[in-house]
Amino acid sequence: MTTETLLRRITDYGNRADPYPLYEELRATPVARQEDGTRLVGTYREILHLLHDPRISSDLRNRRHRERAAPDDEDDQGLPPAFLKLDPPAHDRMRRLFMRHFGPPHSPRRVSALGEELPGIITGLVDGLAGRNRIDVVDDFAYPFPVTVICRLLGVPREDEPRFHVWADAVVASIDPGPEENPGERRRAGQQAKAEMGLYMSGLMADRRGSPRDDMLSGLVNDDIADSGVEPVELVTNSVLLFVAGHETTVNLIANGMLTLLRNPEVLADLRAAPAAMPQAVEELLRFEPPVHMLTQRTPLTDVEIAGVVIPEGVPLSLVLASGNRDPQRFTDPDRFDPWRPDNQHLGFGGGVHGCFGAPLARLEAQLALTELIRRLDSPRLAADPPEYRRNPVLRGPRRLLVDFDGMRP
């Protein structure tokens, strides 16, 4: 088969359980032109260069119109784009404003303090599974846990979950680059969901204006943004972005993590005996089974040469992070899951100015969740392998992860 059909084959649901042979094929061609004009890059070194190249835009308005093959490239019902889809300096202004309420130097203890609350949330969820011998790791744990955490962080009421679950599903479906099932319809549904979420988020922010609570929305809405160049409506669109990204990705990190540990029982046993190694194990998971497989929204602002090939100005460019993570030129024995791997500079959180905003929180969530799950489940084993996957090839992970076990340890 030709490299021109790789994107089609990668997005084909039939290949969701194991896209890695396709990535190996991709790495044989440094820049693989696809039928629709999209360029795919899947080698570590080239991805890393492009992530840090200021000539590579994340703003879809820079695409040449006839090649706007992006899944999410139309105006979001008049809403301004979130910083994920902006270039510096507008990106930097907005990201910095959000970082003021999330991390150093202004809020250095926010994540760490939230970390203190995580064990209680995890214990509550795991205790709720007592008496069962089979769980779905996704619906019973990997989804509700990060949802609870992002709600707590931002200040979104957890009991509104039935409403925003539907919206988040629609947003995620709209960024599926697959050609099937009417992408135009999915896009409109995604935009509609974002607009409704925006209204909902504005309401929460209005409640906090002048009467702050201990959450990020309070910090944002009471901050002085007069000189920041950021409009109030942008606080809303970016809060929606963080809210969706804050759980739709972490769910995959935890579910992929349990799946990988159950497929590697010796590693699971080692980690149960020595939980101090879990931070490295999570880094290896981010390399081996990352929650985000590719970045699909890049566009060169000018002709950019990489590995002797010119990527023309204005064409859709996708960086396949999950492929770079398995590049044998960078990682020894890349298809082996090895938490003790030295020099593990994976691409699991992307890199450059758009490097994952929530990475430190995602790491903590995954470390604590996986440590506790393997500590408490007695003799856990997969009821189905491979599991049923979610449709999305970008935010890739199991839809269901059925695990049988003999009982719950205290």
Partner: protein, 77 residues
């Protein structure tokens, strides 16, 4: 416990400051400050910070005698 940050490798990602704010801090938005001999109670957080460093610039030596000349070091020398 003793720790060292290779400031030539450090790119200011700040991941360590999120995960162990009592040990690492940012001066302004980029310059990293850190406590080279933190309290043992911070060990879990320091481990997380070291594992999370995207450029692996943090070196941690664990144990009360860490950083002192050990037999193993002398053997290697």
């Amino acid at each position: 416990m003793r720790l060292m940050v290779d400031l030539n490798r450090c790119q200011g990602y700040g991941q360590c400051v999120f995960l162990a704010p009592e040990v690492f801090s940012l001066h302004g938005e980029e310059a990293l400050l850190y406590d080279a001999a933190p309290d043992e109670g911070q060990i879990e957080r320091v481990r997380r910070a070291a594992a999370a460093c995207p450029v692996q610039a943090i070196l941690v030596e664990e144990g009360p005698r860490a950083g002192l000349d050990t037999e193993a070091d002398r053997d290697r020398a």
